[in-house]
Structure formats: C-alpha cells, structure tokens
Symmetry: C2
C-alpha cells in the first residue's frame, strides 16, 4: 500500500517523548538538552573529526591514519552492540525533534537536561552541527569482549571523548553510564577500558564511577612491521 500524503495525526494517549524532558517552569541557570543516541554512517564525518581531536589531545597524531572512508568501511556492518558500536553525544538548546534518531527502535536515546552555571561558547558549533538546533559534543566507541572466568561477554570501551568546551559538566559520566547500563541490560559481566597511568583526573573520575584500576596488568601489542612478519 502506498503511503498517503499527510494523513491527519492519529489520536494518541501515549506520552510524547519529545516532552519527556522539558525545561522546568522556572529554569535555574542555563539549561541544555543532552542526548546520547546510536550513531550511523551519516555521523562518520563528525566521528572522524572527534577521533582526530582525541589524537591531538593525546599527542598521538603520528599514529592517526583513519579516514572517513576507512571508518565507513569498518563501522556499522552489524547490529548495534554485537560488534563495534558508536554512541553519539549531542546538545541542543531546545527539545530534540521526533526524528529517526529519537525513534530508533534499536536504542531509544538517553535524554537529560543539564543546568549549566554559564552558557557554553562553542567555537566549533558549525563544524559539529548535526541538526537545525543540534551539535555533536562527543562520542563513545565500544564492542563486546569476553571473560572466560565468568563465561560471559562484556563491553570494552575503546574511546570515550567529550569536546573541550563541554567537559566537566557530567557528559562523560553520561556516556560511560550509557555503556554500563546497556551491559547490565544485556546480562553482561563487566565493562573495561584503559587509562594512562599519569592521567590522575581520569583515574579519579573512573574510580568515582565504581571502576577498579588494575595495577599489575600490562597491554602487549603486535602491530605494523612486527605483525606483518606473521604473513603466511
């Protein structure tokens, strides 16, 4: 059956999730809408820029070789949470529209209002615009891992990143919580990620989130020429 043009809206008693997070009647400070939603291939240009900003922050741009094409070719090839998965962090001055993101049946977005002390001046708002009133502020990329002792999958977070002007406002906590909540929902056993041992702010933050920092384990990496030596 072909879609009819502009049908009248059906009567509905269901609450409109657009307004499930509305501004308080007497807003205090500077409220901002914050959303975490599933990323899709259209987000690749923003994801690419965010990864590059992370490489700059970590002073590791010499290791950065990702392109929009290589990200597109390797992400979004499976159902979310089954393999490499990206959640996008967005901010808006107004409630999020009921678009395909807000109504994604695979992952209903997390929406919160954060009351800021002062409005945020985002010098890159145009670069990271993802909708009429929406700007991308960060992302998290994660994928399943496996514990043989638990005989259960878990999630490993490869990257969690919030753009500089949006930091220290609880958005990183929202991103990490979103992954942890999804792990609990799926009956998974643990969530793991890595931190640089000199990054005391991050370690303090992660410990406050309930994480244990494993002191005795070191990562071994086989890459580049050393890996190519194993070509059959």
């Amino acid at each position: 059956m072909a879609a009819a043009a502009a049908p009248p809206p059906p009567p509905s008693a269901a609450p409109d999730p657009t307004f499930s997070a509305t501004l308080p009647e007497n807003p205090v400070g500077n409220p901002i809408f914050v959303r975490i939603r599933l990323a899709c291939n259209n987000d690749v240009p923003h994801i690419h820029k965010l990864i590059h900003q992370m490489a700059v922050f970590e002073r590791l741009t010499h290791l950065f070789s990702a392109t929009e094409a290589s990200l597109s070719a390797t992400l979004f090839n499976s159902l979310p949470f089954q393999s490499f998965t990206v959640l996008i962090l967005e901010v808006s001055q107004v409630p999020f529209l009921q678009d395909q993101h807000q109504n994604n049946p695979l992952y209903p977005p997390v929406v919160r209002i954060i009351n800021l002390d002062a409005p945020i001046n985002d010098p890159e708002a145009e670069t990271f615009r993802s909708g009429a009133d929406v700007v991308v502020a960060g992302f998290v990329l994660f994928f399943p891992n496996y514990s043989t002792f638990l005989a259960k999958p878990g999630f490993y977070i490869e990257d969690i990143f919030v753009r500089e002007c949006y930091r220290r406002k609880g958005m990183g906590r929202m991103l990490l919580s979103a992954v942890a909540s999804q792990a609990v929902k799926m009956g998974y056993g643990r969530v793991e990620w890595c931190v640089l041992d000199w990054n005391m702010n991050a370690i303090k933050f992660y410990e406050e989130m309930g994480a244990e920092v494993l002191q005795e384990w070191r990562i071994c990496r086989l890459a580049g020429e050393a890996l190519q030596a194993y070509r059959d």
Copy 2:
C-alpha cells in the same frame, strides 16, 4: 538428493593433507604431531577444564564461575573470527585423520611436527583425549577489537594457555602465531593481549615474538555490584 552409501573414492591428483606433515625418514629424537584447529561446541568440556587450570595457575580460582553450560551458551554463536573464537591445540603420535576438523573449510588447521628431546609423560591424557590418538594440549580464545586511530579491526587475545607438560616446546608460539597470521590474512591492524607485570618469562617471550609492552596504560574494570549499580 539422498546421500549414496559408501561411494567409491574419486580419482584425485590433489595432495592428501594428512601426509603434508609426515615423519622424516630418519626421525631424530621424539617427533610429535601438533595441530591448531577451530574449536566447536563438542570441545566445551575440554575448554572448561583448561580455563579452570589457568585459574589455578593464576591463583584466581575465586574469580572462576564458568560452567560448561555457560560456555556453550555464549561461545560458537557466530562465524569464526567475527566474534569470540577458540582455537584448540592438539597433539598426536600419528598423523591427524582426515576428519571434520582436518577438513574444516572455515579454517584449515595448522599442522607441525615438533622434535622433542624426550617423550612427554602426560598424566591427564585420558581427561583431555579428543580422538583415538589425539589429546588436547591447550587453547587460545580471541575476538575482534577496533583501533579508531587506524580505523581498522584487530584481534584481542583473552586467553592463551598450554597445559604444563607441553610447555617450553614452541606450542605457545604456534598458538600466538596462528592468531597473528589470521589477523594479517584479514588485513587487521594489530593483535593485543595482557600480561602480568611480574611475569618476566612471559614478557620476554612476547617481546621475542615482536610485541611491544605498553608501560603507561592501565586497565579499568567495572564489574559485579559496581556494574549492577548502573541498572536502569
């Protein structure tokens, strides 16, 4: 079409891989056939025992809660290399039969002959028997990870284990090489795993294999009650 009973063997010029690794005419020392093949659900009882032995070796049995049922429920749910993947290490005094393992189209086994200084006395041979002349000696469990800087998948090795009486004979090297070769074959960017910082023998071995031990990174883990706190 129903399968015909016992058809005559077709004429074939293809080499029989059973004999691609035959004993030398004048064997020196004590040769043993070693095979790495894809694991399947039938291997779960052996995999379970191997994981338990690893927990004993690492003095972490208090963290061990895997059962055969929980392993069966969480492994072998996808194509090999796409998610959690197990390779089994087996030894035999005679060439491996042309069975379903040897002819697995998803992963042609790796077979080598190792010349031992002395015959191996395996006190658990019956417990780990997987065929008339075949005994399970170890395993490796790994799964895809992802590097955002490379925009490429890699492999993360969760466990690599060789039973005590088979150690220091090059079989661990065979297991690690099998994963690295598979990564190269798939165009992946790196292979990673973890090591305890006081396990100098392992660190030396991994460095000889070409791996870099990353000194600055620490693993953060959210598990148990701390993870359950994120229940929505």
